[in-house]
């Protein structure tokens, strides 16, 4: 199906998310939609998939004007979207999820659906177990489930919003093969939304670049990444090179230390991290990195072994004690586990203060402090801006601004997830400042390049085991990918 968007307009408050955006996708092709964070990519795709009603503009499907006011109607017209965070029901089974959105009468036709599910997943080389619970699947498998679900609903246009976030290299290869197949062999129109240049270059037959709610340009492939960068940012950015920092005293020491949860066991780990050291934790989602970070933050009690912070045994100590010892943890879910929607920036800064505060808040003073932090951390917002009104990049800046001044150990989950190149660089500049002050940093990332570029040492996780600790300068993407897949050296 040929999709045409003409002059789409959509504002959120004073922000023009889409300001007269047009986009054309031919049947059987993969069109890239590229742009930095907040450029309006997701909004445009939500308009096309019926989640958001536009304030102006038209949608043409095979030349005919289409109007829809809900995702259900859009799916009926043949448009399906895979959201950045899978919109499925983790406590339910794969088959149950597959059944959602079907108008098949009062009773569920499970046997029929199971057959269809197996056929479709076989056609694409997926291995989906209809009886598995979705919360046991990887993000990649959940995407596969969503793809077959949408296909079974007769979708002709598939939108993928940042689909490579949170999936591993082999899963990415499978995904790309699937996308090519959907376009070439099945004749579907595929829209690939991303802020990663190399992915767009590899996959798409044409690219539309958005900048600040407008189309900055359209290019047919092949083209160079420099051309795309220029369209995205209006300038070319060069990446910094990590500087050598002399390492200090040991900050964190784990001695045959393991964590046990009902879902995953982290086998005993011994590790020493020194002041100023950066350690990247590589591995598939759910391989134990997150468990390690949370347990190092004092949020989960270890099942065995002991954890020393600057020589002090922290066994049995509360999360509060870890905070007092200069540990900070930044989880990936910014609005779920970090910021408090409904409160503004000034209120956040008051809450985050570690030093003894007076009982009554001096709001004039608090707003002044907040204003300074906002300026220092380059946050686009004011002390009275509610955090949910900030863009993803600014939320990340706010979280960094909330960290106490002196830290011993900083634990970060996907510190640059969903950020554009510029914001990601900025975040790392701040983190490297910390490191020069002697803070030890542990971070997870699905971006192996980021791990290789930023870490002193890299530890690889696979199925709850910390396999190896590698010197970052002695390894490469290939070796890491090999280890992540569960194969030793």
């Amino acid at each position: 199906m040929k999709v045409e968007l003409r002059g789409i307009k959509k504002c959120f408050g004073s922000v023009r998310a889409n300001d007269g955006v047009s986009l054309t996708v031919e049947a059987g092709s993969i069109q890239g939609l590229l742009g930095e964070n907040g450029a309006g990519k997701t909004t445009l795709m939500k308009v096309l998939s019926g989640f958001v009603s536009p304030e102006g503009g038209r949608i043409l499907l095979d030349g005919k004007e289409a109007l829809f006011s809900s995702p259900a109607q859009a799916i009926e017209k043949g448009i399906g979207m895979l959201h950045q965070d899978p919109l499925d029901f983790p406590p339910l089974k794969v088959l149950d999820n597959f059944l959602f959105g079907r108008d098949s009468g009062f009773l569920l036709k499970r046997a029929l659906a199971r057959k269809e599910l197996l056929e479709l997943s076989e056609r694409f080389g997926f291995t989906l177990d209809p009886e598995a619970y979705v919360n046991t699947l990887t993000v990649g498998e959940r995407q596969q489930l969503e793809i077959v679900r949408l296909l079974s609903l007769g979708v002709e246009v598939l939108i993928f919003d940042e689909p490579t976030t949170g999936i591993s290299t082999p899963q990415k290869a499978t995904l790309f093969a699937t996308l090519r197949r959907l376009a070439k062999e099945e004749g579907k129109s595929v829209i690939f939304v991303s802020h990663k240049l190399e992915e767009v270059l590899e996959l798409c037959s044409g690219v539309t670049v958005l900048r600040r709610g407008k189309v900055a340009g359209e290019i047919a492939m092949p083209c160079t990444s420099e051309e795309l960068v220029r369209l995205m940012f209006g300038q070319v950015i060069t990446t910094h090179v990590a500087e050598e920092v002399s390492l200090g005293e040991p900050v964190l020491e784990l001695r045959v230390w393991g964590v046990h949860t009902y879902r995953l066991d982290l086998s005993p780990v011994s590790l020493q991290v020194r002041a100023g050291e950066v350690i990247g934790l590589a591995g598939l989602e759910g391989s134990g990195q997150r468990l390690l970070l949370r347990a190092c933050a004092g949020l989960i009690k270890p099942s065995r072994g002991s954890l020393f912070l600057r020589g002090e045994d922290m066994s049995g100590k509360s999360y509060q004690k870890f905070l007092d010892a200069g540990v900070a943890y930044l989880p990936a879910g910014r609005l779920e586990e970090g910021l408090i929607p409904g409160l503004n920036l000034a209120e956040h800064f008051v809450l985050a203060r570690r030093e003894k505060a007076p009982f009554f808040i001096n709001w004039a003073l608090a707003r002044g402090d907040a204003g300074r932090k906002i300026e220092e951390f380059n946050i686009i917002g004011s002390p009275s801006t509610l955090v949910e009104g900030l863009s993803g990049g600014n939320q990340q800046r706010a979280l960094l601004a909330l960290l106490p001044d002196s830290l011993r150990l900083l634990l970060l989950e996907h510190p640059t997830r969903g950020l554009d190149v510029e914001s990601a660089l900025w975040v790392w500049d701040r983190l490297l400042e910390r490191r020069e002050e002697g803070t030890a940093i542990l971070f997870t990332s699905t971006d192996l390049d980021e791990i290789l570029e930023r870490s002193d040492r890299i530890s690889v996780f696979s199925g709850g085991k910390m396999l190896e600790i590698l010197d970052a300068s002695q390894t490469d993407v290939e070796q890491l990918g090999y280890l992540i897949g569960g194969n030793r050296g």
Partner: protein, 345 residues
């Protein structure tokens, strides 16, 4: 804000009142009563004499106290349904003090108030403990504890505190005079209780608005997970909010036994705990809103008595009118959010 936006806001503010009036008019017509006359009686019944106004304030005091307490738990995102039980434990502790300590009024009354606060706070704390450490949702903990509190009070009245003459279930013997709150001449209203309620509202207002603890409570209510990670001792704050709410409910209990009834009776809480949930919701969880909203409900309750006398309408009609208003407000608020969402996407 532009002129038209202001107008829209004003209309949206009045919409629930209009809707509630429409609903209650329909109910009145269905009950076979001329609506205008009924409204006139309601209004007059609540305001025609100083005695009536005093009666309205008598109802207002415990409502305001409980609603003020509920602002703590609501701010922390908790549904403290157990206010009714917390009132009763305030009553039980105050009754014990009144019956067992033979002191002059100047000592006895403060002791009863402190005792009532402790009783209510402990009962609130119990619900909080069940939630924080037992994983029991506070709605179920509160409901269960309400039943236990009511039954305990009935047992106390029927057994240990049974009056010497005959064992009717009417209540305990009247308290000694020293345990009665002083009243305004010829009225049922006690200035002490009025002062207590007003003080409670003022203190709650300042705590929630201007203190770090109030802000921390708000943070817990909006996102307990993030609040915890920011280093806020969420469990301690949740427990404290339950205890404070219980303490204020306990004061309401003291006012009921020592200011209104002068003795302990089985139906001493009289549904005030539940009604105060509505008051807190309707006031938008703001201390400034509680005073007028509680006044409205109190007036409705007092005025309805006259509806019964003059028009033979059941006084429970007042409940229907009040509930109609709450539903209308929630409905309009819900529609408004929907409207905003569909506009903004």
């Amino acid at each position: 804000m532009t002129y038209s936006q202001r107008l829209v806001n004003l209309l949206l503010g009045l919409a629930p009142v209009a809707l509630a009036l429409m609903l209650s008019t329909l109910v009145l017509i269905a009950a076979g009563a001329p609506p205008l006359e009924a409204y006139k009686h309601l209004l007059q019944g609540a305001s025609e004499s100083p005695a009536k106004i005093a009666d309205v304030l008598v109802v207002w005091v415990p409502l305001a106290l409980c609603s003020a307490g509920l602002l703590f738990t609501f701010t922390a995102g908790l549904w403290n349904i157990g206010v009714e039980g917390q009132i009763i434990f305030g009553v039980i502790f105050a009754t014990w003090v009144a019956r067992n300590l033979y002191l002059p009024a100047t000592l006895l009354i403060p002791l009863m108030i402190v005792g009532g606060m402790i009783g209510g706070a402990l009962w609130g704390l119990l619900a909080g403990t069940l939630k924080v450490y037992g994983g029991v949702h506070e709605i179920f903990a509160g409901l269960g504890l309400n039943f236990i509190a009511i039954t305990t009070n009935i047992w106390l009245i029927a057994k240990p505190w049974r009056p010497d003459l005959g064992a009717t279930m009417q209540g305990t013997d009247p308290f000694p005079a020293a345990a009665w709150l002083p009243r305004l001449a010829g009225l049922r209203l006690s200035p002490v209780s009025l002062l207590l309620a007003t003080m409670a509202l003022v203190v709650v207002f300042f705590i929630l608005r201007g203190t770090l603890w109030g802000l921390q409570l708000k943070a817990i209510g909006k996102n307990a997970r993030s609040a915890y990670l920011l280093g806020i001792a969420t469990n301690r704050h949740v427990l404290l909010s339950f205890a404070l709410c219980g303490a204020l409910a306990g004061v309401a209990g003291v006012v009921q036994v020592s200011g209104v009834w002068g003795r302990n009776i089985p139906q001493i809480s009289g549904g005030i705990g539940y009604l105060s949930l509505l008051v807190a919701m309707l006031s938008g969880f703001r201390a400034l809103g509680v005073a007028p909203v509680a006044l409205f409900f109190a007036a409705l309750g007092v005025g309805a008595a006259r509806l019964h006398l003059r028009m033979q309408l059941d006084p429970s009609l007042a409940g229907v009118l009040g509930a109609g208003l709450v539903l209308s407000v929630l409905l309009v608020a819900g529609l408004r959010t929907r409207l905003l969402i569909s506009r903004e996407g």
